[in-house]
């Protein structure tokens, strides 16, 4: 028996003996982890964190088990020293879904619990600020509940019957005329609606909060940065409370790009979701494909052939490179350098996107991975191009970017010591990816819990220790270099052979059960939690979006900083709104 299995067994014994009756193993077929009674949840989590070292709560989400009349909240906790997840669940009746909040134990659960409340209507008792996060107050119902239907509802699952064999074409607008495709809660009139007090400041824009100081009477002022603000690279709002120029508090407001990706995903068949994942973090489509493919492959129990694994790694690392250099370019843009650095970055990115286009057919919406392999092989001439990039062009150009920016006094004065996030805070707030590693926590899923074939490559987990904006810039440079190393090794080792396990299929028989597939995306840990009930569509499809969860720590980073620095602090987190709002 390996050391790890012994450890896991000890953990299990400790947990079951410490919490008799209230903690049980999840015995359902295809499921893992523990089922915890709601009343014991907080004690259980505290034990996990303080005694067993599961200090990182990665994912919180809910599942609506309509036939059983239950709501389930699923938690995935990890150790920042590495290792597999500890999964625990709380089951509550559907009519009265109340679960104690875990924010006091893991502050990183904040936004995720709000999301579960918003989309599933699960109440988290003791949450400091439980209100809708992705939808607005005038939204009727909780859309991820299985009995909720949109006003333009057509059918429960795709494919829709009206398409074939009697496919009479209709236009969606004709069936759902404008203004009739919205549903408000009973008695709600959007024209007369006045936000209640807690939201008043957020919705009214510039507001005032009284504050009397003994020596010098000052007033705090609320400023809305966004939703239309160039720094957000999308539609995103930061409500900042200022004392003079200093930030007292900040609240991110998001959801402007919300399209309920997860509900769409549950209407889709398993394969149909693949192109939709491209549209999450559209700067890193290959990573999104990767995460989703891993999750479903876990359920299906298929393993891609060797060559496909290598192709996947090459593509995922190319994605990381293009994402990071783009992030660096746009970060300099936020800093006021205008477009020169970002165009230098875009030049390299274009070359990588050319590769994607030639292999997958599209520069950004790649739709390249399939369950058990990839869609098509890399042609000979494109392989040559990747060689050129990995061995010659990219290392040279990264060095140039380094000479250009890293030493620049302007960059350093602006970013050093700005937006500091300590290691403890980063872990507590469930920050992931470059944000976590720039704070001195060398946690990288590729190393901590290797997936695919990452255990075969020689690379370093980049880590920086100051946790400021400058380190978050440096860490991206480091990671690009490591990614180039991985690609070089992969190119040398890649074998010939098939790229798909089994025959290509468009309808998959996915055995019932749950699976959580996670990859180290460019923005951080990207996870897909899927539940199958054995039918052609996922019962639950949840995305652990790193852009979204990294924002939990934004308020902490900006407190005490000057308002002018908010823009670069946000830029250093590197969010993509397509993923944040889903």
């Amino acid at each position: 028996m390996s050391e790890q299995t012994v450890m896991l067994q000890n953990e299990e014994e400790l947990l079951l003996s410490r919490f008799p009756e209230v903690v049980k193993k999840d015995e359902r077929k295809g499921y893992e982890g523990y089922v915890v009674e709601a009343k014991a949840l907080r004690d259980f989590a505290t034990t996990l964190r303080d005694e067993l070292g599961y200090d990182y709560l990665s994912s919180v989400t809910g599942v609506d088990y309509l036939p059983e009349g239950k709501m389930e909240v699923v938690y995935h906790a990890y150790k920042t020293t590495g290792g597999p997840a500890l999964v625990f669940k709380v089951q509550v009746p559907r009519e009265k879904p109340v679960v104690p909040s875990l924010v006091p134990v893991y502050p990183g659960a904040d936004f995720q619990e709000r999301e579960a409340w918003d989309l599933l209507g699960i109440k988290f008792e003791g949450h400091p600020n439980l209100k809708r996060i992705l939808l607005w107050e005038g939204f009727h119902g909780h859309p991820l509940r299985k009995d909720w239907r949109e006003p333009y509802f057509e059918e429960e699952h795709k494919p829709y019957k009206s398409r074939f064999p009697e496919g009479k074409f209709f236009r969606a607008e004709d069936r759902n005329p404008f203004a009739k495709n919205v549903d408000y809660p009973a008695g709600f009139d959007p024209d007369k609606w006045i936000p209640d007090n807690s939201n008043a400041l957020i919705y009214e824009g510039l507001g005032r909060v009284e504050k009397a100081d003994d020596d010098l009477p000052t007033e705090q002022i609320v400023v809305n940065l966004g939703p239309q603000h160039p720094s957000t690279h999308g539609v995103f709002r930061m409500v900042v409370t200022l004392d003079g120029e200093t930030i007292v508090d900040l609240e991110p407001v998001m959801g402007y790009l919300h399209r309920n990706h997860e509900k769409i995903g549950e209407r889709n068949t398993w394969l149909m979701n693949m192109p939709f994942t491209d549209r999450l973090d559209y700067l890193a489509p290959m990573s999104n494909n990767f995460g989703y493919a891993l999750a479903v492959e876990k359920l299906l129990g298929v393993k891609p052939p060797e060559r496909a694994e290598y192709i996947r790694v090459i593509m995922a690392e190319l994605t990381r490179i293009q994402n990071h250099i783009f992030a660096i370019g746009m970060f300099l843009n936020d800093m006021g350098a205008y477009f020169t650095p970002s165009l230098y970055a875009i030049e390299e990115r274009e070359l990588i996107l050319d590769v994607f286009e030639a292999v997958a057919g599209s520069r950004m919406m790649v739709n390249y991975f399939r369950f058990g392999g990839v869609a098509r092989d890399i042609p000979e001439d494109v392989m040559k191009k990747i060689h050129e990039l990995a061995f010659e062009r990219l290392p040279r150009r990264i060095d140039e970017l380094d000479r250009f920016l890293t030493g620049s006094e302007i960059v350093r004065v602006r970013s050093e010591g700005t937006g500091v996030l300590t290691a403890e805070q980063a872990i507590a707030y469930s920050a992931a990816g470059p944000v976590l590693r720039a704070s001195g926590v060398p946690y990288d899923v590729r190393r901590a819990d290797p997936y695919s074939i990452y255990d075969r490559f020689d690379f370093d987990v980049a880590v920086r220790y100051h946790g400021d904006v400058y380190d978050r810039y440096l860490i991206r440079m480091d990671e690009v270099r490591q990614s180039i190393r991985i690609i070089q090794q992969a190119l040398q080792q890649i074998p010939e052979g098939p790229i798909m396990a089994g025959k290509p299929q468009y309808q998959h028989r996915v055995p019932a059960g749950e699976a959580y597939g996670r990859v180290e995306g460019p923005k951080g840990e990207l996870g897909f939690y899927v539940v199958s009930n054995g039918k052609g569509n996922p019962w639950r499809y949840h995305v652990r979006a790193p852009s979204f969860i990294n924002l939990t720590a934004l308020a902490e980073m900006t407190k005490g900083q000057k308002v002018g620095d908010v823009v670069i602090i946000l830029g250093s987190i590197d969010i993509v709104l397509g993923e944040t709002d889903r």
Partner: protein, 219 residues
Amino acid sequence: MDGSGILKGLGVTFKRLIETYVDDFKRGKQRYYTEEGIEYRRSAEVKGIFTVQYPEEKLPVPEEFRFVPFLVGEEQEDGTLDPRCTACGICTKVCPAQCIWIVRAKDPKSGRPRPKPAEFYIDIDLCMNCGLCAEYCPFDSIKMDHDYELATYDRFADDVLDLQKLLKPVSYYAEIRPRNYEREEEARRKAEEAKRKAAEARAKARAAREAKKKQAKKE
């Protein structure tokens, strides 16, 4: 020294600036508005300016590039196109956006379904260009196009493509995707060859059986 970092950075931009002019001078006219020029500017060894002046210059698209589907039609002698499509409906079932509508043709006499599409619609406003329909079509009948200039004046009239607008000849497909076309033709030839051989073998076996029977009768 203070300011050395900025100077170094300025050195990088200055080098780029000089390179642009030097490269223009070195390559002269053939750098712009020529095919080699475009190819050079998107290659890994490009120095200096790398942008392309669309629409005067256009980047060539790779073979796998995909944009809204079209239907492959076999060219008939009278100049019409006969769709390869057999109205099996797999594309409608696999389409994530559900933007394909097919009406299966019916035999006018018996009313039984015929393996041909009577009507075929794709709403390209809904299409997300994922290419799944082309990938899973068992008859190589629906393929992704290379034409990306689709701006129209009226989306209601022009963006819902019907059978007539969707049909394009096989030769067009062979032109935009030569490698894919070759591969499919090869596979088809092989399949036909195998079929023919199997039929031959069957015929032979039957002949042998019958010969045996005859002999048995004689005896």
